[in-house]
Amino acid sequence: MTEPVLSIENLTIALPEGAERAFAVDGVSLQLFAGEILCIVGESGSGKSMSANAMMGLLPDLVRPVGGRIVFGGVDLLDKTEAELMDLRGRKLAMIFQEPMSALNPLMRVEDQIAEVYEAHRLLSPKTRAARAVELLTEVGIPDPAKAAEAYPFQLSGGQRQRVMIAMALALEPEILIADEPTTALDVTTQAQILKLIRDLQRKRGMAVMFITHDFGVVAEIADRVAVMQLGKLMETGTADAVLDNPQHAYTRKLIAAIPRLAAGQAPARKEKPPVLEVESLSKTYRTGGGLFSRPRVVEAVKDVSLQLAEGETLGIVGESGSGKSSVGRCLVRLMEPDRGTVRLAGRDMAHLKGERLRAARGSIQMIFQDPYASLNPRARIGRIIAEGPMAHGVARREAYERAARLLELVGLDVSAINRYPHEFSGGQRQRVGIARALALEPRVIIADEAVSALDVSIQAQVLDLLADLKERLDLALIFITHDLRVAAQICDRIAVMHKGELVETGPAHDIFNRPRNAYTRTLIEAIPGREKELATAG
């Protein structure tokens, strides 16, 4: 085998005192070869990003490497001074990040931000820098590169911003590109394009790419070799095919098993049940800004959406960001006033209830939110968080707390949680609290808005199982709003696909995935990372 461009030898990175564990990265050895894409996979806290930051010399202040070497070009990067590292950054090693929204300076034009890379290394004249910026933007496939160069980041979409980041990283033809979850914040169709772009550029330039991700679908799509990390330790390395098809380590097997499968098999034949929720011609338009003299900006978030939810059914509403799926959810629970349309819950129109009657009706339709960190009041104990709803509906305090205790058991948490605060729990546990809170009012319908999107894949699998189990036991109807088609495939009986505020297709999950009728649905499904690999393995 040829010499690696970079090799990490027995790297150990210490966390500050009082952290959850002593080492962020613990004795990791990895090699990166020219012309390959090495995927580092792991859940949050696995140390994958820390390893990458250590290579760039960009570790947070209190985190420092305490052992091992990172050998690049025959020397140990950990021995380099800050000035020497500055010279390497951007020129030999480049990096792109997860959040294209925040990774660019909002006050600077795109071309100036790209030109800065040359400026930092005192290359080219200011004029040629600007011309190079346009060339690079052309290379990363931005429509109208000359115009994009003049633009400010907020004028570009998320995918375009990530292309700008890539253009910036490629400016000095680095030997190594480190990509830290570069597609995690993007929509699935955009993700597919960016993955292809990275793959193409890597082949064209023969770069080595270290690609950090939590998503095995992405791994299947892009990786030559894979390294699996857990809690700072390297679990397993190997070629992509070997690790995906024949994982050696138990942790890798567990991770892969937790991935929701697309091939939902034959949809179970359900008995026709009466609808519990009927939505007709729901519309919602947002007006922002505007005043005495200026016209407001109008966005039609939901356009004439009609759907039905049968008792005990799980309906998935899927779509990309801005498709209006969350707006539908919010209109259904009346967190937001729909402009037009009816929402009949067990025959009663929720959309036009007011005051006391709306308050009374709210109990029968409840919501679980996306961010388990932001959706629980940090100053309230878990008991109060769960009991508050029933108490507001007139249940005695004692009884409400007893119910809260039973619900905690039901969602798989210890009863002692009742006296603790949200920050004492992990993301997955908090989401269980969120589910208990939604169940406290004994609703007939639960709306889960991206309820597992913020969770690691193994935790996500547990929460999905819990939801499926509760649904059976309590005979709930569930509306599951998600951008993740894999999750939808696993949990939903029927799926509604939204695009630009409109419902473009509704049908049984099995049909949507295997025989999509709408062109947009097809694009969406084809963009799911790892789909081809999964089909090949299944077939």
Partner: protein, 323 residues
Amino acid sequence: MLRFILMRLVKAAIILIAILTLNFFLIHAAPGDPAAVLAGEAGAADAQFIEQLRERFGLDKPLLTQLGIYLGGVLQLDLGYSYRQQMPVADLIFARLPATLLLTLTAFVIALVLGTLAGVLASARVGKWSDTVISTLALLFYATPLFWVALMAVLVFSVFLNWLPGFGYETVGANHTGFRRALDIAQHLILPATTLGLFFMAVYMRMTRASMLEVSRLDFVKTARAKGLKPGIIQRRHIFRNAMLPVVTLAGLQAGQLVGGAVLTETVFAWPGIGRLMFEALAQRDYNLLLGIFFVSAAMVLLFNLITDILYRVVDPRIRVAS
């Protein structure tokens, strides 16, 4: 941009009329009768004399008519007549306005420049002793009562050291002209402007420091480091410019209060400004003068709000391009 400014000016005019009307009714709702006060000071407080005074100043007319007359006058830049000082209100205000603006604007610039600089320095050395010294000093100036700092400044620099004049706007009786006069006023300005400036400096210092630290944690700063940029450039170009956005907002809010905001300083340093004029007008129930000062300070607030908004559009492309 021109259209934006025009629209804002029209809005400002409407707001100004609303403020005037509200002030007018508020003042008339307060207890106390200017005619009675005037008559009392003239030593002839009988009912007939008071009635005559009322008639002379138009105070006998219905309130709405009085408001109409007043607003009509304002449109022609006539702010009415001060019964008490026997002079047009506009003359009184414009005689005092330059002194106040000179004092408050100088203090404002001192506060803004020193505060921002101190904030940048402190943020660059966060947790080190220089950060602690800067933060403590700024807090000290903010927490100490303004009039006490002013008195101490007079005591030290004027009485003991005899470096600077301790009160007034210029040397009385010196009759300087031209450059000599400007120099004389500048010398008088140093103590009050610095005292007032140091007080407000703390706010800008803390805001700048916090904002710089917050921005330095954002992703695009990491992007800048990953490019291989030098720390100095990252500080200036990436962190500082973004960190200034909240400081601009704060400065705009404070600049609006420049006209009325220096009563204490003007009093201690015997500075002939609007603050003292307002205080006197309040004590003497000089309705027209009070309304006039309110009008000018409201106009000033609106003007500085407009300037802030224009500035914001210059520094933040998201606002400039989006609208």
